[in-house]
Symmetry: C2
Subunit: 385 residues, 2 copies
């Protein structure tokens, strides 16, 4: 086990009817920026529940609609201007991971002195942020229980991340009912996103951390168990509830405690989304098999453990079990409607070279838990997809 610090101060408020708790969780007298996405919350009842809670607490609020998937810097800066102009001092993000991530950036940008783009592009030092809370409607990114965010910028085709303790959500409300209206594509993406978050922290090499391993396997096994029910129509409360709980646990720091981590799939996937607009989870499902193929020797001990513990594969050599687990994982992603390659997308011929070049230029490669996935390997991984 490696040394680690685990710290996660988010108050997770979970279950049916919990949106009403907002009236107690938002500070009395706060002036709230109520930010959301494309407006689905107006048809599924979430908007009305939030408004009722804000009104019940006698809070002033201003609405900001239109935070898009892969939240755009240009859009978020409009919210920053609104908040500065109206002296809003609490941010309520209502939506999925994109709204949550976008609001973390807004929270940090409002009091930032200088060009807020530097927070992402130059990792400029943040000293404070406006406090924020989340009402989650799409289980996927885990943003509801971490202090990280990913933001995109149109003009430069960049997708960049930042993280800071100042943007820990004070609370996140997770009501499984608020996921009922999700289209299957978003639900399948969410399942894959949460699953790959765990794989990035788990599929490396044995590190004498059996508890952390089992916590990761707990999330993976549960996602495999509940995915068919979570995808089914009509929605199943218990399946959606466990999916929400899994997605939060997948990226709140616990399953990465004391172990090496990979994240190559994510770095490559972010570039692919930035260049092509492909959904985040779809880039992960497409890129992941190539990372496994290229790093098979380094990862096969852990892959064989994963095969046994999550997929109940006990027969065959270590290589055979490891390969079978990769095949099972691809089949699982496909079962929730997410392709595990890029052949169905219209991409430029030099996409692999572009991605490799961009990662190298930003000094983000070499990647992986051994720091040995260089630009040439990145290119091969994307070509394999």
């Amino acid at each position: 086990m490696d040394n680690f610090t685990f710290h996660n101060p988010v108050r997770l408020i979970f279950g049916q009817g919990q949106i009403a708790q907002l009236s107690k969780e938002i500070p009395t007298g706060a002036r709230v920026l109520f930010a959301f996405g494309g407006g689905s919350i107006k048809t599924n009842g979430v908007y009305d529940q939030v408004v009722a809670a804000l009104q019940g607490a006698g809070l002033h609020w201003a609405e900001f609609a239109g935070i898009e998937p892969n939240p755009r810097y240009e859009t978020l800066m409009q919210a920053v201007e609104l908040a500065r102009r109206e002296k809003l001092d609490f941010i309520l993000a209502v939506g999925g991971g994109s709204v949550a991530d976008g609001c973390k950036f807004i929270a940090a940008a409002i009091p930032f002195v200088g060009d807020p783009w530097d927070i992402l592009a130059k990792r400029a030092r943040i000293t404070q942020a406006v406090p924020m809370g989340i009402v989650l409607t799409l289980p996927a990114t885990g943003s509801e229980m971490n202090c990280f965010a990913v933001v995109s910028r149109d003009e430069t085709h960049e997708k960049l991340s930042f993280g800071h303790p100042a943007v820990w959500p004070k609370f996140s409300v997770l009501d499984p009912h608020s996921t009922y209206s999700l289209p299957p594509r978003q639900l399948g993406n969410g399942i894959v996103d949460a699953y790959v978050h765990v794989l990035e922290q788990y599929l490396t090499f044995p590190a004498a951390a059996p508890l952390t391993d089992r916590l990761a396997e707990a999330v993976l096994s549960t996602l495999v168990e509940i995915a068919p029910r979570a995808m089914a129509n009509p929605p199943d409360y218990q399946a959606r509830a466990n999916l929400m709980w899994c997605a939060a646990m997948a990226l709140n720091g616990l399953v990465g405690s004391g172990v090496p981590q990979d994240w190559a799939t994510h770095y490559i996937g972010h570039e692919l989304t930035a260049l092509s607009g492909i959904d985040h989870a779809r880039t992960l499902a497409a890129i992941w098999p190539g990372v496994m193929a290229l790093k098979f020797e380094a990862k096969k001990a852990k892959l064989a453990q994963y095969a046994e513990r999550v997929w109940n594969i006990r027969d065959g050599s270590e290589d055979e079990r490891a390969l079978a687990a990769i095949a099972k994982t691809r089949a699982f992603f496909e079962s929730v409607g997410v392709p595990t390659g890029l052949s169905s997308y219209d991409l430029p011929a030099d996409i692999a070279a572009q991605i490799a070049g961009r990662l190298a230029a930003r000094h983000q490669a070499p990647l992986g838990e051994h720091g040995d996935i260089d630009s040439a390997m990145v290119k091969r991984i994307v070509e394999a997809a």
Copy 2:
């Protein structure tokens, strides 16, 4: 899954050499109450590391030694007087769960207006507490990662608990090396204590919470796996590290998220310790089989799941698998040196009636996840032990 709120703001600083982090974690200029137990930290190097960190940060501190197992109200009030007299404004607890629990009480009692015993006896309202941090030397109670404490009072033979967000530790430092000098009895007790903490939250009835179930099974399976190595001499860093991580995870709120909980074994065990002085973990190991026997029908579905997932028992009827799991659990406790009955202790003949009467008088019975373990059943459970 039941509705729940999960919130745990403790900063867990884990690994070798981490005691030095104290110099960064304790606020600059703090006046520290450095509290510890019987002095074992002076022989195992922990005291010296703490002093070096305090000196390095230029902090003022006063020492308070002698917090005993099952920390006594009478002792703790001496520390309260010291802290009030010397205007100490940060508490550093260095030791096991008893020191941690005792310091939570000290933290709440220092600013308390009125008789601090009311915090325990009358659940008097706490509005504030002196901030505290922990350096853990004995993995067992989970106090390092929760806001609960248990305190005993000699004159009334009472052992009472309280919990409040004001006594969350700001941080807990867990260096596995600091457990190396533990005698086998304390180590075995610690393993049983952590294990029973999970059982109390897990062995109830199925509640459609497969992720929380698997998190619990992760802790149990890991304790079973590492216990022999953790008990072995010389100590094994990885086994001790995983034991510390398991004990923290066993009672930090996660494995109880969204599920019913029992705690009958603990309520009965606390009375037994208060009346007889038997080690806390030993009362748990002695009482638990009786609770399982009496509530077998209500618990057997979950016991059978436990049999399969933790003990790999897959043959036989549900009843047979459930019974086999109980037997395996008893054998596990015995394997770390903890008896699973009371026959080796010298106890008054009416101990069962005394315990049942005390729980009833304090309105703590009926107990259990169904609230149906009444005084007569408590008596039978203790008699069975």
